[in-house]
Structures are given as structure tokens and as C-alpha cells.
Amino acid sequence: MHDTAKVIAGIAVFLIVVLSPVWYNTVTGQASYVPQLKLPTDEKYCVETAPYMRTNHIELLELWKKIVVRTGKRIYKATDGKTYTMSLAGTCMKCHSNKADFCDRCHNYTNVQPNCWECHVVPKGVKTEATEHAR
């Protein structure tokens, strides 16, 4: 092998280029970035606990949809015994009236595009991102 130096240099350049975004984020402190969500002010507790809601809100919505559409029942009894009307636009958005800085901000960060609002109607007075399809 006569080109050892060239090969090593090539690998080094390759690694620098490939890892540059990681370094950039570490140096500028963006690696630890998490979106700052604006929580509802008038209500402290969601339907279930915050960690549960954080990971399972879509499962809960799926379950609500299933119960409402298939059985016609509309009242959900939470783990703590409180009851809620199973409605995305009616119940969820009543507290989460800042859709732009709560739902949308996290969904944008995690790059998920839920299609709820292609059919469900965002209630008036709810703050939404202008770029969103809904209304």
C-alpha cells in the first residue's frame, strides 16, 4: 500500500462531513433542544395522567372514536373516576385552545402529520398555525 496517508485523510474528511451536523448541534447547544409547549392555564389535569397522555393520547383518541362510532356511548370514565364527553373538538380543544403552541409545535418537532383536522372542525377561538390545512 502506497496511499495509506491519502486513504486515512479521505476517511477523516468523510467523517468530518458526515458528522458535521452532530458537532454543529453539540457546539451550538441545539442537541438538547426540546419544543417549549404552552400548557393550558385554566386546567392542571388532563383526562389521564400527563405521562400517560404524552405517550398514549392517540391511543386514547382511537379508543374514544371506537366507542362513540361503534356503540354510540359518549361518556368516558377516566381512571380517577371523573367522566368526560368523548369528543376531540368538543372536549380536548376546550382546554387545549392553543393548538399552535401545543399540538402543532410538538407534532412539527417529531415530524408527524395527524389528519384529524381534515374532517374535524377546529372550534372558533382556537389558535392554529396558518400553514395547517384545517381552516
Binding site: 362510532v69 361503534r70 356503540t71 374532517c119 374535524h120 372542525v121 372558533k124
Partner: protein
């Protein structure tokens, strides 16, 4: 390990046995729809065609339904979406229609909507179970599950279903907040105002009707208004010979 002879025997048995089940159910008088639970309503509608015709050109029920359910108006018959509408007597009851039927009857508009069949062909063909029959007899749509294959539209003998060829939102005059719109690529139809029944209200069309042509009620309730009407007056259903058991009845 099954040998060829056993396999063929089993296969023949299955082929004969599968339809035998439904024949057996028919002969033993077992209701195809299954028994209803105690206290479970079975919703139905009675349309009095004479009363309906007493206000010519009336669209009260259609407008009420379409506005509260965010039904789009595409203004193009090819794309048309409708939950409740009218057509001529001749088109709706072709088997009852002959040239000696009085002009008055022949020219009456007939209000039509989903028949909420007891034996709904649309439900049988739906590959995703997006459409299904509830215990209370309402044939419902789960728009989340609809993949837009339109098998249900082909299967429905009443043409009660519409397809969203385009995004309906721009074509809805005024979007009502408390009811979802639909999206491009799903089938939609009348739901007997399931969301209003849950609140103890009557369907919007029945409430909007000023001529009292529409009666809605529970078939399982022997003294209900619909049962009294059906027992006291001659009535017809659309294409009853198909065995779909429609639950929209017409008084002539």
C-alpha cells in the same frame, strides 16, 4: 398428515356445509339480523307522501339535514353528495308505477334517504368494516376506516350513498363546528341523525318538516307513533322484494 382422500372428503364437506348454515338459519326462522336486546330501540321512519306533497317545492328537511351535517354542494350532478333528497314516484317505485296511477300520485316528489336496512348489502361488502349496522338498526359509517373502494355504493340497491371525489370543504356554504366534515375519498350517507338521537332529539329532517310528513320512532315500542301508523295505514317500502328489510316506510 392428512392423505389426499381425507383432504378431498373434508373439502367436499366444507363446500356443501358452508351454504347449508344459512339455509338452516332460514328454515329454523332465525332472524338474520339477530335478536334484539331487551329495551333496545329499533329506529325507523315513516314518510307520508301525500302530506309531503302538500307543500310543493319544499326543501326544509333537505336543507336542515345538509346544513347541520356539513354536506357540500358541488353544483355538479357528477360530484353530487346527498344524504336526503327527492325523486319522482316513477323512479323510486318503478314496480308500483303504471300508466293508470293518478297523475297526482305520479307527480308527487318522493323523499329518499338511507333505508337503514336490517339486512344491509353495503355492510356485507365493506372490506374494512367501515360501514356496519348498530344494535339499534342504524347503518353507520366510520369515516376513519373508509378507504373509498365504493363497494358499498355498488351494493346499495337504493343509491343512498355518495362519494367525495373532491375535498368537500371549499363547497360547504357554512361549516358547522359541532359536526365533522368529510374528506376526499370517503363515502358518506344519512346516519338517522345518530348524534342527535344520543341527545334525545329527533332527526333534523323530522324536526324541520312543517307538514308533519315525517314520523320517526322505535319499532320495538308497540305503542310508538311509527308502529301505530304502520298498523293503521297501508304502506310500502322501496324494493322490499330484495330482502334488505328497509326501515323507511312510505304511506301513499
Amino acid at each position: 398428515m392428512m392423505n389426499r382422500r381425507d383432504f378431498l372428503k373434508l373439502a367436499c364437506f366444507s363446500v356443501v356445509g358452508t351454504p347449508a348454515r344459512s339455509v338452516f338459519d332460514r328454515l329454523t326462522g332465525k332472524d338474520i339480523a339477530g335478536p334484539t336486546k331487551e329495551g333496545q330501540p329499533k329506529w325507523a321512519m315513516v314518510v307520508d307522501l301525500k302530506m309531503c306533497a302538500s307543500k310543493p317545492g319544499c326543501r326544509d328537511c333537505v336543507d336542515a339535514c345538509h346544513s347541520i351535517h356539513n354536506v357540500p354542494a358541488f353544483n355538479n350532478p357528477k360530484d353530487e353528495v346527498k344524504w336526503v333528497w327527492t325523486d319522482s314516484y316513477k323512479n323510486i317505485f318503478p314496480e308500483q308505477s303504471h300508466r293508470f296511477v293518478s297523475v297526482e300520485v305520479q307527480t308527487r316528489p318522493v323523499l329518499i334517504l338511507c333505508n337503514h336496512c336490517e339486512n344491509p348489502p353495503c355492510v356485507k361488502v365493506c372490506p374494512t368494516r367501515a360501514t356496519f349496522r348498530r344494535e339499534d338498526g342504524i347503518v353507520m359509517m366510520d369515516y376513519h376506516r373508509c378507504i373509498g373502494c365504493r363497494y358499498c355504493m355498488a351494493a346499495c340497491p337504493y343509491g343512498a350513498r355518495s362519494f367525495n371525489w373532491k375535498d368537500p370543504r371549499p363547497f360547504i356554504k357554512k361549516i358547522k363546528e359541532d359536526f365533522p366534515t368529510r374528506t376526499k375519498g370517503v363515502v358518506e350517507k344519512c346516519s338517522f341523525c345518530e348524534e342527535r338521537l344520543a341527545k334525545g332529539l329527533k332527526p333534523a329532517c323530522v324536526e324541520a318538516c312543517t307538514t308533519k310528513a315525517l314520523t320517526f320512532g322505535d319499532l320495538n315500542e308497540p305503542n310508538s307513533q311509527v308502529r301505530n301508523l304502520l298498523a293503521s295505514k297501508p304502506n310500502i317500502r322501496r324494493k322490499a322484494y330484495l330482502g334488505t328489510e328497509p326501515k323507511v316506510f312510505y304511506l301513499e
